[in-house]
């Protein structure tokens, strides 16, 4: 049986040494740092192979800035940066290699996942409770949108295990291959008069929409099947109120007015 232990918060203030902020203090968080750096190196190599030129440095710069400053949007920005590199017009031809594509996708995904997990260990894993934030004293510009130390909840470093790193590494090529397969399945033909790429986008959006709708419907049905009596009462009562709110409002307002009038008369006499 696991017992509760005093929660040890790893306090790393803004003035702490660089290696501590990068997670080189020896804790398990350094695993994710290694994954991030390795994936940045791989992205650089693949983009250089694709002859992106000096643009290859853009994702590296974004990634390194994210690591140094714990920028929470760094993974999303890296995705954008890689997209920008892939949109650079080619002058001398570019090698089209499925293997390189898989490698690039796997490396990007690795950085995204590892950087987010590193942020959960070094920064916060839960969103800040705004009610506690409002109670804290403001600390400079944009303090309302920053997490104050008192409200920060980090994932403890001791919970990071080598096993989850290994699982992440093994799953990366699978996701990349799945992405490639889905792209291959999306049809260009059999459309009903649209441009091929538009038709492909429509099919993709339609498939995603149907899948999400089915999943949402399933979860809603599951939740409703497991309502407690109190939850079911609140749900049905709400539906009843929405249907009859006008009549209820009229009757209850009249009732409240009548009761107050009777009270005032009693107090007068």
């Amino acid at each position: 049986m696991k017992k509760s232990e005093p929660h040890k918060k790893t306090e790393k203030s803004a003035a702490s040494p660089l290696w501590e902020r990068l997670g080189w203090g020896g804790g398990p968080g350094v695993y994710y740092l290694v994954v991030c750096l390795a994936s940045l190196a791989l992205i650089f190599l693949v983009l250089a192979e694709k002859q992106a030129g000096s643009w290859s440095l853009l994702p590296i710069g974004v990634g390194l800035i994210g690591l140094l400053t714990r920028w929470s949007s760094a993974p999303a920005m890296l995705l954008l940066a890689v997209t920008v590199c892939l949109n650079v017009p080619v002058r001398f031809g570019r090698l089209a290699s499925p293997f390189m594509d898989v490698l690039l996708c796997a490396a990007t995904l690795a950085f995204v996942v590892a950087q987010y997990r590193l942020q959960c260990v070094q920064g916060y894993i839960f969103p800040a409770d705004q009610r506690r934030q409002d109670g804290q004293k403001s600390q400079g510009l944009f303090s309302r949108w920053r997490h104050n130390e008192g409200t920060r909840q980090r994932r403890a470093e001791s919970l990071v295990t080598p096993g989850e790193i290994g699982l992440l590494a093994l799953s990366l090529p699978i996701w990349a291959l799945l992405g490639m397969m889905v792209w291959g399945w999306l049809p260009l033909n059999y459309n009903i008069g649209f441009l091929p790429w538009v038709w492909r986008a429509m099919v993709f959006a339609w498939a995603m929409g149907v899948a999400l709708l089915v999943a949402a419907g399933f979860f809603d049905y599951w939740r409703q099947r497991h309502f407690t009596s109190l939850e079911a009462t609140v749900y049905l009562q709400d539906m009843f109120w929405h249907e009859t709110r006008r009549e209820q409002r009229r009757l209850n307002r009249w009732g409240a007015w009548f009761r107050l009038r009777r009270q005032r008369r009693r107090e007068r006499w």
Partner: protein
Amino acid sequence: MLTSRGWWLLLILLAVLGLAMLVPPKQEVPGRQTMAILGLTVLLWFLFEWLLFAIRVRMIVPLLRVRREVWDERGPVETLWAGRNFLVHARVGLPSGILGLPYILLTDFRPFGVEEETGETRYEGSMAAGHDLEIRYSIQCPPPGQVRFEGLKIQVADKQGLFYHVGFLSSVEVYRVLPPLVDVEGHAPDVKRHNLLPPPGIHRLRRPGSGSELLDLRDYIPGDPPRTIAWKVSARRDRLITKEFESEVPVRCTLFVDTSNSVRLGSSGQNALSRLVEIAAGVAQAAAGAHDLTGLCLFDEHAANYIRPARNSGHLIKMLNLLADAAGLTPTTGKASVAGLLPQAYSFAQEVYPHLLRRDMNRAPFWLPWLWPQPAYTLRKPTLADRVYSRLLLVMVVYAVGGFILTAIILLGLLNWAGAPGMDQGMVLPIAGVIGLALVANFFLLPTFMFFPKRRRQFRWRKQLAALLSARYGLAPGGLGLLLEDDEQLSLHLQKFLSEHQVPYTLPLYEGPRYLFAAPEKVDVLAKSLLRAVGKGHDNELFVLLADVLELSDRLDPLLRAVKVALSRHHRVMVICPWPLGMPVPGKPGAKGKAKGKAQGGGGKAKGLEKVLRQATIARYHWAYHQLRRSLARLQVPVVCAASGDPVRLILDRMDQLRTVRRYR
């Protein structure tokens, strides 16, 4: 369920995919396909994580089971004692054979009033199926009453922090907190003022009777049984001497404890009711230790709960349970402001009942406070702001018309200015754009900040809380509409909700000049209960009235009549008055109005009006106390202030006096 990180990642992903799929492909940009594959890769991973998290939250988290035990040094207990330390064990488990949870934070919701001593009330980590987690910490119990454990707050997230769920594992356990233990002398076991403890099972009844303990020696009276003759003493005195033995008939005592609203005011453990309960519990335990019979009558403005005197251990436990339940009572009044109670109740409901405030189950339409605000005629004392708010729709119409006219004037001016000779036509469009944006902001955004934002927010809270309270207290389905429109009903139900969950709240003491918590009806209830007890009484009994009647000195006639009846039946009556905390204890009789009102607790720093008010209050209390003493002194009924001396000892001494031998020769 998505955090801000998750939303940003999703937006970027959709932007990347949109760019890859919708923008026409160009030969010189062959990376478009790679971009699409990259977007699909990350999107598929994201959707998988989302699906997994949704399964965990919707299907796994509801399967969590909580088991709680409270331990003392010997083992698990079902009843607690005030002022002692206990260990809380909370175990959370998942059935085996299902998915685990990768990261959860469990926090035990500590009851109000309970002091946490050592240990951690939270657990952080992963949770595997078939395994239990344990949270263990020690607490110190509050004053007598009840302790209610609501359950545990659970926060679930994935390892990336993209998804987040907060819920509550409800596991309500209520424990009674009994008054602290005392000895036969009415004191706590570690404080012994007198060294006169009788041996266990032996009591002192200083009346002649047929017991086995020698009480006295007297001259022989013809007719005394020969076995009672003390031969040795008779031989010494050369005349017959008879032994008198103690009587085994115990003394009966009935405690009348006031539990009306007037004694419930104040924080739990520091109000008058807790002091009265402490005195009653001390007397009951001390009397039980001396094998005397003790009864109890808990009364308020409406009814009384009477228990006949008895002396077995089960009866004592029953009395202590009733006293503990009474100590946890909170005051209620229909005159409390809804605006004061609503934020407390809503924030509590958000913590403990988040599943009942979900938008898909308990929706508060955004237009409701705009189109149908609460009318002023349903309010007891509407202010100008209430009247304006009830006409919010009209105010908005006036605002819209005024804004429209202003817009027209500005646009006409702009057109005139644009048509002026020498005007740069290229500047017109940007300026018009800026003015247009400002107007849109003015019309659609400003009203949300200007026109009663707090009231509209509270109205939405009111709707959601009304749904919750209506379902919880059996008012459904029409209760929602009733609580939404009737302030008094909502106020009463909010107080009931808060007191049931032991959430402290403040109440108004006055409505204009009228004090709301005087409770004059309790005098009649007390008088009837006293007469009933006298009717069921046996021989000389002691009736102790632990009641707050200082504010009712002009309405005591029914009580005085009942006291006269009791005295005429040779019973004894005693009155214990609770005294407000921080108020100086009254001095000798005849010193009315001379209380200087020396500030206690404030260090004498009250100045001006506050000082005058304090002195007047003290003088009024002292005068009321002396009036009460005078009224009851005519009947030879002692009145004691609960804050002075040792009322428990006084009551026990009075019971001892009832055992005094009355010899008629």
